[in-house]
Assembly symmetry: C2
């Protein structure tokens, strides 16, 4: 079974007009993604943000649960938050993963607009094969990852679809669904 990593990207991402922007970290993203990541045995989930103030905010949210109120209140949430690592750039996340896994991971791009890419079932089979390399899945906040991020990926995953054409899921929902499709029982 391939080791699994994920990165929640706040720059470069798109706004609703397709402009490249930096999005803000939200505390609920941190909690939800930590809990989903830990449920599906993600080795490390990176919160990627270029601004120091935003990284400090994320660290405060995590430390609150690690050391203070949260430790006593809910040990399961603390355990999940230990899956997280806050970094400046995608390159920092990849360097850390390469260090942890001893080999550069395959980079998987996700988008609500991709078709003709890899299906989640294929990715699951690939990850379950013997000698599968580690996988790093990239998720965009805002209105999705900037095109320059896709250029760096080895695999583009098809958009998640329900019965119809509408698929305007939150990034929290997209993370959960993709992890479940590739790692759920």
């Amino acid at each position: 079974m391939a080791d699994l990593f994920l990165a929640l990207i706040h720059y470069p991402v798109l706004d609703r007009n397709g402009r490249i922007v930096t999005s803000a970290i939200t505390s609920l993203d941190i909690h939800d993604i930590a809990r989903s990541a830990h449920t599906y045995d993600v080795k490390r989930a990176y919160i990627v943000h270029p601004l120091a103030e935003q990284r400090e905010f994320a660290a405060t949210v995590i430390d609150h649960w690690r050391f203070d109120f949260g430790r006593a209140f809910d040990g399961r949430r603390r355990e999940a938050l230990e899956t997280l690592k806050i970094v400046d750039t995608l390159d920092d996340a990849l360097a850390d993963t390469t260090n942890v896994a001893s080999v550069r991971p395959l980079i998987v791009h996700t988008s609500a607009r991709t078709s003709g890419g890899m299906k989640t079932g294929e990715l699951r089979a690939k990850m379950e094969s013997a000698d599968a390399p580690p996988i790093m899945i990239l998720f965009g906040t805002g209105f999705g990852l900037a095109p320059s991020v896709r250029d760096r990926a080895d695999i583009a995953l098809d958009a998640i679809l329900g019965p119809g054409d509408y698929n305007h899921l939150s990034v929290r929902a997209a993370v959960s669904i993709i992890l479940d499709r590739i790692r759920g029982r």
Copy 2:
């Protein structure tokens, strides 16, 4: 294909000590669940809360996107929010569903602690059979649905599991994953 409904229950739910409490509505629950519900063709998603102030808060969040800022900002989010209906009790939700679907729905209970219940794959097959009745899936906020809610359900769905035993998902993640498992492409 069976018509699908869901209810996000804020009372009666459990707190971390297993006491029966009323939880607060959060605006992000409203948004995430509307977007996931609309993606997976849920006919109506009920926000169930016994307190008028909380129902008014939920209505304000929805109206903000229907009439004001949100209408111009993001039409896709407005469309999703039209899937929602705010009600006082589970009975009110069931009465509305029975009215919309012309027959009482099968009630499906979800919990992070159920084992030996129905698997999501079985529920999917059941819903895809000819003449399948409408289905109403109940989700608990806080630390999950109170036992009295389970007593009202026709089906208890098994807990969502990843590779290990940890499955402390947010209700937003649980809704997304279950909808994807029973309705995803």
